[in-house]
């Protein structure tokens, strides 16, 4: 409990997490507004109000990675381990606090974009009528939560802000999308990529705006909740790897 409070103080006592949260909210709201304004009522569905969640998620991942890499940059990690020598407990507490903050930002952006769409298109069918539609909106916070854990884990492993952010951006923006281009096995591999699984959780069950258009749906061997569980498992595994390595090396 004590360490949770410590990490909370650290997170909120510098400005960059606030900036990241604000930018994540504004950028998703902005893109949603553009999308909704240029769509007709029929095209705006509950799922489509969340189409920009990836943008906010990437920014929150940067926030999570910075939460640890700035500690290495300014060597406050040494002061941290001096004040609390149990490194596993420290990093677990940091993961909990950062992931919780990310989850809250995720929920806020999800419901803010959903609310914005309702305001802009009162005539569209935007009621949260079934569990799938609830998952498509409220589930965004869960994705942010585990994405933050994954990003923190990468930050712990590489310790450098620039390196961590480059890896995260290149991976989420390029690698998972390019992998499908590998002949024969590409599509098979893509099914087991973590962000593909996370995306499946967020978007499964969204009807294509126009029948037969849009990207071909992947035939995934798991359901939406299976996808989330898989994404969570990978995120936690990366965090655990980071904790193991941190215990072995010098602070």
């Amino acid at each position: 409990m004590t360490l949770l409070a410590v990490e909370r103080i650290k997170l909120v006592s510098t400005r960059s997490p606030w900036w990241c949260a604000g930018i994540a909210l504004l950028i998703t709201l902005g893109f949603t507004a553009l999308f909704v304004a240029n769509s007709d009522d029929l095209a705006v569905t509950v799922g489509s109000t969340q189409f920009a969640f990836n943008l906010g998620m990437i920014i929150i991942m940067v926030m999570a990675a910075l939460a640890i890499t700035t500690e290495y940059r300014f060597s406050t990690i040494k002061t941290t381990f001096q004040a609390a020598p149990n490194r596993t407990a420290v990093l677990a507490a940091k993961a909990a606090v950062v992931a919780l903050a990310a989850g809250v930002v995720g929920e806020i952006t999800a419901f803010a974009t959903y609310g914005l769409a309702r305001l802009m298109k009162p005539a569209a069918d935007l009621g949260l009528d079934n569990p799938a539609e609830w998952r498509q909106v409220a589930g965004i916070g869960l994705i942010y939560f585990f994405a933050a854990i994954l990003a923190l884990g990468v930050g712990i492993l590489v310790r450098q802000s620039a390196a961590a952010i480059s890896i995260l951006l290149v991976y989420t923006l390029l690698v998972e999308n390019l992998i499908v281009l590998i002949p024969t096995v590409g599509e098979q591999i893509q099914k087991w990529m973590p962000f593909t699984a996370a995306n499946h959780f967020a978007t499964a069950g969204i009807p294509a705006p126009v029948e037969g258009q849009g990207p071909p749906l992947l035939d995934l061997p798991y359901g939406p909740w299976g996808g989330l569980a898989y994404f969570a498992a990978i995120s936690v595994a990366i965090l655990v790897a980071g904790i193991v390595v941190t215990n072995r090396r010098d602070a």
Partner: protein, 315 residues
């Protein structure tokens, strides 16, 4: 009380700390002296459990650092004043440290007052001068009212006022019965601050004694005699196998003998002395003498004492 046993740390090819065994006692300021790169900071990081030793161990109050429940209550340390997030206020910086060791926030304001930073407590630490950053670091070290304190080169880069403040502060902490372990690469600084000295070079222990003993052991006391009958006196001494060397026209420097012995010899021979005195080298000379035979250390010693030593000069 800090106890190190066979402490060794290797970074790749560099042997930073080489089989160090020492004890640092409470109630006094112990200086940790050695040239740059001698392994002082590495040793201190190992004491705090930040770096893992390749071999050996360190105990603080009988425990490994990692076993300390609320470590800031036992050990306070200032290894580097820059280990602060520049965009965090001094108060926030100390608050999370206090929180981690279940200390009340009231204590944060107390230590800020103690080091004279109360008026800038809400300011970003990144905007602090070196002296202020150093004071913030000391505030952090004092948070838990610890019995053991470690300072790594605390006066580096400070103005004379700041140096005096820190020096008096450390002596006060020691007089309160605490263990104060402070490193420096400056012998002159340590002579003014420390009662005990732990001297290392290239990761190896060179000596552990009181500052006074260190000087006495190392700097050979010589006797200076002035007389009009030096020729006669010198011959008598040479006869007895005493080591002498002339210093100017009518002065002789005798090594390895006391003023008593020289005075008695002169008295027996009825030689009038105009001056008879013990002379002792400075701390700097002591250090050179103690390690001077080790040619490897020559350039380091030169830097250590701030005096040029001819490269390749063999005694």
């Amino acid at each position: 009380m800090i106890e190190a046993r066979g402490l060794t740390k290797r970074y790749g090819d560099t042997l930073a700390v080489d089989d160090l065994t020492f004890a640092v006692q409470p109630g006094r300021v112990t200086g940790f002296l050695g040239p740059n790169g001698a392994g002082k900071s590495t040793t201190m990081r190992i004491v705090l459990g930040l770096d893992h030793p390749t071999a050996g161990e360190v105990l603080i109050a009988g425990k490994h650092y990692r076993e300390l429940e609320r470590p800031l209550h036992t050990v306070g340390a200032l290894l580097d004043a820059k280990w602060v997030h520049p965009n965090r206020s001094a108060r926030s910086h100390l608050r999370w440290m206090a929180r981690a060791n279940k200390l009340p926030y009231k204590r944060v304001d107390e230590v800020l007052e103690l080091v004279g930073l109360a008026s800038v407590a809400g300011k970003r630490a990144g905007g602090f001068s070196l002296g202020m950053a150093q004071r913030l670091g000391i505030a952090g070290a004092l948070l838990g009212d610890p019995e053991v304190l470690l300072f790594d080169e605390p006066v580096n880069g400070l103005d004379p006022e700041g140096i005096l403040w820190i020096r008096q502060f450390m002596q006060r902490l020691a007089s309160e019965g605490r263990t104060v372990f402070v490193s420096s690469h400056l012998l002159s600084e340590m002579a003014l601050t420390a009662t005990d000295l732990l001297v290392i070079g290239r990761g190896r222990l060179i000596s552990q004694t009181s500052t006074q003993d260190f000087v006495e052991q190392a700097s050979e006391a010589t006797v200076r005699v002035r007389s009009r009958e030096l020729d006669k006196l010198g011959a008598l001494m040479t006869e007895r196998g005493w080591a002498t060397r002339p210093d100017g026209a009518d002065v002789l420097v005798v090594s390895g003998k006391t003023t008593d012995e020289v005075g008695e010899l002169a008295g027996e021979a009825q030689i009038v002395l105009h001056e008879l005195a013990t002379q002792r080298g400075s701390l700097e000379e002591a250090f050179i003498q103690m390690t001077g035979h080790d040619v490897e250390f020559r350039s380091e010693i030169a830097e250590l004492v701030g005096a040029p030593v001819a490269q390749g000069a063999t005694p």
